[in-house]
Structure formats: C-alpha cells, structure tokens
Amino acid sequence: MNKLRKLIIMDDDPHYAGMLALKIRMQFPELMVSSYNKADLPGGYDVYVLDNDFFGEKCGAQLAEEVRKIAPRSLVIVLSGTLEFALLKRLVNCHAAGVFDKSKEDDLTQMMGLIDQFLLQSPNQSPVSKSSSFQGTLSGIRGLMKEWNKRLAFEEKRVS
C-alpha cells in the first residue's frame, strides 16, 4: 500500500511557514504539508524544509545533520538569508539537496522544482521502507550538483 508523502516546514516565523505551506500545497496537492516552529526534529517525513535561522541562532546545518540521522532517505532543503561558504560546505557534506535564499522568488521556484523532481523519482514510497527512494534522492541530488558547485565556486571566490 502506498503511503501519503509528508513534507514539514521548520521555521520560527509562523507567517512565513503558513504561506509557504499553502504555496507548496497548491503546487503539490498530493503532499501532506505541516509546519513546525521548534528546533527539535520530528521524524517520519519525506521532505524537510528547514530554516537556517531559528530565533537568531544559525542552526540549519545542525538540523540538516540531525535529519540525515533520523530520516536518511528524506529530501532536505535549507532556507537561509545568507549563503555563506561554510554553511554550504557543511550542507553538502550532510547531503542536503539544496539551500535557497528565502527572500528570492527565483530560489523558491528552484526549490519547488527540486521537490517535484524528488516526488517524481521516488513515487509514493515510505521514506524508510524502500531503498529505491534513497536512490531517487541521490539521482535528484546528482542533477543538482551542478548548481551546488556553481554556488560553492562563487562563494569561495567571494570569501577569498
């Protein structure tokens, strides 16, 4: 039996989380979308959209690393106001699929594309029951590596 796939938005701003959840629901009616405004991680979701800044603390990378432990086959997306090289590198290392600027419309469009790709490549599977879901995520990530590399190169140049 196929499972309803679930996405969670973790953001300390309920207004942002509410509207983002609505936009995601409009684009992906097949997803069950929830939002959560605490920095402790609930398990069992297929897609995690994490805000990097929780009440002034930059904890997106830490959250992404924790998600990798509790839901290794899930898609992890981090939203950040600042795309720092150190953050990007840490996120690549924990296999986050993307980091997007939450104030840029183009970035949100890219994020939707990434979710779409993930849903198409791992259709209706539980995040923990089948290994092919992970394969889907990996191949999705492969497609995004170009974008990642571009960003990393840009940030590295900017920092040095």
């Binding site: 196929n2 942002y16 609505l22 629901r25 097949e30 800044d53 002034g56 104030s103 209706n124």
Partner: protein, 227 residues
C-alpha cells in the same frame, strides 16, 4: 489539510464490476465517477471540463453497449481532460491489447483482474502524475490565502508598534531576517528588499545603527500597509 482528490472515471457496463471498483477506490481515498456507456462518459467529461476539473485516470471497458471503448480511449488521449487511461477487457488476445494500446491506453487490464494489484497500480500511476486540483479545493485554498494575508497585515501592524520602542540588537536582526522572507512571500517585495538591505547595514554598523533601522522599517511598513 485538503486531501486532494485524485479523481477516477470508471466506464463499465457490468454493474457488479463498476460497483466493486468504485467502492474500493473510494475507500482508498479516490473520488470516483461511474458511467455505463460511452455517451455517459462523454457527459461526465463535459461536466468536468466546465468545472475545469480533470480526471487523473480513466478505466475504460472495451466492450460497451453503445460502442467500442477504444473510441473513447482515443478521444481521451487526444483531449487534456484525463491524465492516464487503462483499458479493461476480458479479451486477453494480443490483437485486442494492441488495439487498445494503439487507441491511447497506457495499460491493458484483462478480466478477471486482481483487484488489490489493480488498485496499487492506479495509486502508483496517479501518484506519479501531477494532480489536478478540484474547484472546491481551489476555493478552500483561496480562502486560506486570504486569511493568511489578513493575519500578516495584522502582524505587520504589530511589528510597526513594536519598532516604536528600543529592542535588543539580536531581536532586531531576527525580526529583519523574518521580514525579508515573509514580506516577499506575501507580495511586499519592496519591504523584503529593504529588510535585507537594513540587515546587511546593521551587520556592518552594529547596534549604533538600530534606531535608524527601526525608523526606516516602520516607515516602509506603514507604506506597505497603506497600499
């Protein structure tokens, strides 16, 4: 949460088969329409098109009282009102299968079929395809969007009040961070850009710049709310 409707059209003249399929699909959470004839199916498709609704999948029996189900499959595949099509028939011959697939069927199901396996196939099929929302759900989402927009305006109003008094540096930075993201989502792009700019400047100049930030931000929020 609007559990949105994957909508299935069953075109089948054998009542026991259509009732069993419809009941099982409904129990699985699908919305189901049933027609017993090609003409009945055409009417349902017309009604759906008027409502701007699509079927996510149609299960079409090949032998129908008023004609060849393949004819309907051909119509469905050339229109945009049905995303996927399964042909159902008791004829297991290769020529019958070829006939249905050539008419636009995505899959050929022979009777008697394994109900559980068929339901799983349908779930997989519609899960892979983009689901088309129904008008009633669209209305629900539009109303929710309006509620959120109103709540955000109220929130901006209270932020404006909050900015009248001095606030801790960290809280101000956090507020700017929130505004740059949320203002963009709610269509206040100028406020979002300003929050981003002020956040950068506050980072450079430190707490001494806080008062300027609060005043500039308040002015822009007032402008945003007055529109």
């Amino acid at each position: 949460m609007c559990k949105l409707g994957k909508k299935i059209l069953i075109v089948e003249d054998t009542k026991s088969v259509s009732m069993l399929l419809a009941a099982t699909l409904k129990r699985e959470g699908f919305r189901v329409d049933v027609a017993e004839t090609i003409e009945g199916a055409r009417q349902l498709l017309k009604r759906n098109a008027e409502l701007q609704c699509k079927y996510d999948l149609a299960l079409v029996d090949i032998s129908l009282p008023d004609g060849d189900g393949a004819e309907l499959l051909r119509e469905l595949s050339s229109s945009s009102w049905c995303n996927a099509r399964y042909a159902v028939s008791a004829d297991a011959s290769r020529s019958a299968r070829k006939h249905a697939l050539n008419a636009g069927a995505d899959r050929y199901v022979t009777k008697p079929f394994d109900l559980r396996a068929l339901i799983d196939q349908i779930s997989d099929e519609v899960g892979r395809r983009k689901v088309i929302r129904h008008n009633e759900c669209k209305d629900g989402l539009a109303a929710e969007k309006q509620r959120l927009a109103q709540a955000y305006s109220d929130h901006l109003f209270s932020v404006c009040k909050e900015l009248e008094a001095p606030m801790p540096f960290k809280a101000l930075r956090s507020r700017l961070h929130q505004l740059r993201g949320s203002a963009m989502l709610y269509g206040f792009s100028r406020l979002s850009t300003l929050a981003s700019d002020l956040s950068d400047r506050l980072g450079k100049h430190g707490p001494s710049f806080s008062e300027d930030v609060r005043e500039t931000l308040r002015q822009e929020i007032r402008v945003a709310l007055s529109r």
